[in-house]
C-alpha cells in the first residue's frame, strides 16, 4: 500500500448560489484544485453528493461533472453516505491512490441545496434517517437531533444556553473566512434569543442550508514533492457505522461509530487525541459537537459543553474546532462538507489560514458524520516531511 498526500485544494464560497448550478459549483472547485496542484488532468474523479437526485433531478454526476470540467473520458462515479458523502469520497480516493492503481484522483464534494426541482430540502435531508421505521413517523432531520439534545440536557442537568459557546466560536472564526456563508461574529445573547426550530434546537444551534463545492487532488506521497513544496500527508483514514435509526442504538448519547472511527484513526497515525492540533468536527448541530468531542476522547461523557465554556475549543485553546467557521457558520452543503473540512485542515497545515492561522500546526483531524451518527469517517492529516 502506498502512502497518499494532498497536493491541491479548491473551494467555492458557501452560500446561496442562485446563478450557479450543481455542475457549475463542482467545476469551479475542481479547476481551482487542479490549478493549485499544477496538474491538468487526473486519472479519476470521485464525487461526494447526497441530494443531486432529490433537489436538482440529476444523478450520474461522475460522468457529467468530469465532462464539464474538461475531463471527458476519465474514470468517474458518485459516492453517497448521507452527510458523510464528502469524506466517503475522500476515503475512496485515498484507497484508489494507495492501491497503486491510480496515480492521481480528484475528489469533489458538491451540494446544491437551494434548488428544489424535485423534493423540498427538509424532506430530502430526512433520507439520511431510516425511512421505514423513523422518518415515516414524521420527524425531520432537525427533530431527530432535537431528541438527542433534549435527552442530553435531561441526563446532564443542562440548559440550552449551555451550548452557546459552540455557535459563538464558529461564527467568530467564520468572520475571517472569505469562503464562509456567515462572515460575522455573534454574541452569546444572539444565541440565547435565537428562534426555536425544533425544541430545544434553535436557529443558532443549526448549520444552514447552503450551496457549495470543495475539491482536492490526491497523489502518492512519493510523487507529491514533484507538484508542490507543501504536500499534506493523509496519516489516517477510518470509517465505522452504527444503526441509522436512533431507537436501535445501544446507547443514545454515545456516538459509537465516532468512537471507533477516531480510535482506528489514532492507531493508524500512531498518536492520541492530545496530539491533534485542530479538529474539524461535524457541528451540524451544537449537540453533535458535544457528542463528537466526547466520543473522540476530548471530554468525559456529559462534560462536552465545558470545553466551550472554558475556551478550549477556540483558536488558542487546547483543541481548536471549526477553525474556519465549521458547519455552523462556514455552512453545510451536505455532500460537500466532508471535503471542505479536509480542505480547511490543509489550509491550516500549510499556514494558509489567514487571520485564523494556528501556530505550530502539524496534525489536523477531520470527522464527517452521516445521519445522527450512523456513518462516521475520520481522517488525520499531517504536514509533509
Amino acid at each position: 500500500m502506498r502512502d497518499v498526500s494532498i497536493i491541491g485544494i479548491g473551494q467555492t464560497k458557501v452560500g446561496e448560489h442562485w446563478n450557479r448550478s450543481l455542475r457549475d459549483l463542482a467545476v469551479d472547485a475542481i479547476l481551482a484544485a487542479l490549478s493549485d496542484a499544477s496538474l491538468e488532468r487526473a486519472k479519476a474523479l470521485y464525487v461526494g453528493n447526497m441530494l443531486g437526485g432529490a433537489l436538482s433531478g440529476q444523478q450520474h454526476l461522475g460522468a457529467l461533472i468530469a465532462d464539464y470540467a474538461g475531463l471527458r473520458g476519465i474514470e468517474a462515479l458518485s459516492i453517497e453516505a448521507a452527510c458523510a458523502s464528502g469524506a466517503a469520497a475522500v476515503r475512496q480516493g485515498y484507497i484508489a491512490v494507495a492501491s497503486g492503481l491510480l496515480d492521481s484522483v480528484i475528489v469533489c464534494g458538491v451540494e446544491k441545496m437551494t434548488e428544489e426541482v424535485g423534493s423540498n430540502t427538509t424532506a430530502a435531508l430526512a433520507m439520511a434517517g431510516d425511512a421505514e421505521y423513523e422518518v415515516i413517523h414524521g420527524p425531520s432531520f432537525v427533530s431527530l437531533n432535537a431528541l438527542l439534545m433534549r435527552r442530553y440536557m435531561h441526563e446532564n442537568g443542562l440548559k440550552r444556553e449551555d451550548f452557546s459557546g459552540f455557535s459563538v466560536n464558529a461564527h467568530r472564526n467564520a468572520a475571517n473566512n472569505p469562503n464562509a456563508m456567515f462572515q460575522r461574529a455573534i454574541k452569546p445573547e444572539v444565541f440565547n434569543r435565537s428562534r426555536m426550530i425544533s425544541d430545544p434546537i434553535s436557529l443558532m444551534d443549526s448549520s444552514p442550508i447552503a450551496d457549495g463545492a470543495a475539491a482536492l487532488v490526491l497523489v502518492p506521497t512519493e510523487l507529491a514533492r514533484g507538484f508542490t513544496d507543501k504536500p499534506v500527508r493523509i496519516a489516517a483514514s477510518a470509517v465505522s457505522t452504527d444503526s441509522v435509526a436512533l431507537h436501535d442504538r445501544r446507547d443514545l448519547l454515545f456516538l459509537a461509530a465516532a468512537y471507533r472511527s477516531a480510535r482506528d484513526a489514532y492507531q493508524q497515525a500512531g498518536i492520541g487525541p492530545q496530539d491533534i492540533d485542530l479538529f474539524e468536527l461535524h457541528d451540524a448541530f451544537t449537540i453533535m459537537s458535544v457528542l463528537s468531542l466526547e466520543a473522540c476522547g476530548y471530554a468525559e461523557r456529559g462534560k462536552g459543553v465545558d470545553l466551550a465554556k472554558n475556551g478550549e475549543i477556540s483558536l488558542d485553546g487546547h483543541i481548536p474546532i471549526s477553525t474556519m467557521g465549521g458547519l455552523k457558520a462556514r455552512g453545510h452543503p451536505v455532500g460537500a462538507t466532508g471535503v471542505y473540512q479536509i480542505v480547511e485542515v490543509v489550509q491550516q497545515l500549510r499556514g494558509q489560514a489567514g487571520e485564523n492561522q494556528l501556530p505550530d500546526c502539524r496534525l489536523g483531524m477531520a470527522q464527517n458524520i452521516g445521519g445522527t451518527g450512523a456513518t462516521v469517517i475520520t481522517h488525520i492529516m499531517e504536514t509533509g516531511s
Copy 2:
C-alpha cells in the same frame, strides 16, 4: 497491488417483490453471498444503487443495509453511476481489496423499482440523462435510446424486425434461469407484433422495470482457496466515461466509452475479444446490445445485428451474450444489474449455469453501462488456477 478473486455470490429472483423492501432484498442477496463464501462477516460493504432516494425515500444505504445484514459497525457506503452503479460498486470493491487495505469486501447491487414513494420510475430513470440540457426538453430514458435506434436504422438501412434476434436469444436463455423475471421463450413474431413504447423501441426491445439484488464477496486471490475450491479471479477492471447528453457525443452511434473500457480491459487481461467465452453485455434495449458488440470488437460498425441473425450470440455461437436472460429477460433492477452480470459470469465459470452451461468456459466479460453510454465499466473474470 494484490490480485483479487470472487469467493461468493448471491442473488434474489428478479421481479416485482411487493412483500420485500429495498433493504430486505439487499440483505437476502448479502446473506446468500456470505453463505456461499463460507464467511460470517467482511471488512466493508459497498452498495450499488441508483434510485433508493427517488423511489423509496431512502438514501444512506451503506450503514442501513450493513446493520440489517447483521454487520453493524463495518465500513459501508453507496456508489452511484446511474445504471452502471452495480459495476461501479464492484470496481470500488476490487480497488479496496487490491490496495491491501481491506481483506474482504461485500458488494451488493440493489434496486426497488416498483416502489414509488417519492418520484415515479420513468421520471427517476431520466436522472441518468442530462437534466439541464436533455431531460428538460421532455425525453424519457427510453426515448433517448429510441433516438439512437432510429438513427442506427436510418444509417444502415435496417427495419425494427432486424433487432428481434437479441430479444429472442435473451428470452430463450431466461427460460432456464430460476432467478429470471420472464422465464419463457418467445418467437420472433412476438417481437415483431410487440406494442410500441417509443418508436422504434417496442416492449420487446426493452428491459423491464424490476426489483432485485445481487451480491458478491471479494478477497485477495492468495486467500481465496481458503474459502472455496472454485474461486474466480478478476482479470481486468476498467472504466471510461463520455458526455452524458447525447447531443454532445462526437459520434452518436459509436460508444466511445465502451470501446475504451473494453480496450483497457483486454489489455489488462492480456487477451483480445476472440478469447472471451461469454459476454454479459448491457442489453437494456436491443440497440444497446448492437452498439456494445460493435464497440467491443465483435462486429464492424453497422453490422452488429448480423451477430444475432447468424446465431453467433446464442449459447453455441461464437460470442454468447445474455446467457442467463440478460437485462431484457432476467430483468434490469438498474443499480443491481452490474452485480447480476458478474454473478452470472461466475455461475458460468464455476460450471453452475444449469441448462445454459457453456462448455469449456474459462474467460467471461461483463459490461455495465450508465446512461446512454456515458459511464461504461468492463470486468473480465477467469476461472481460478
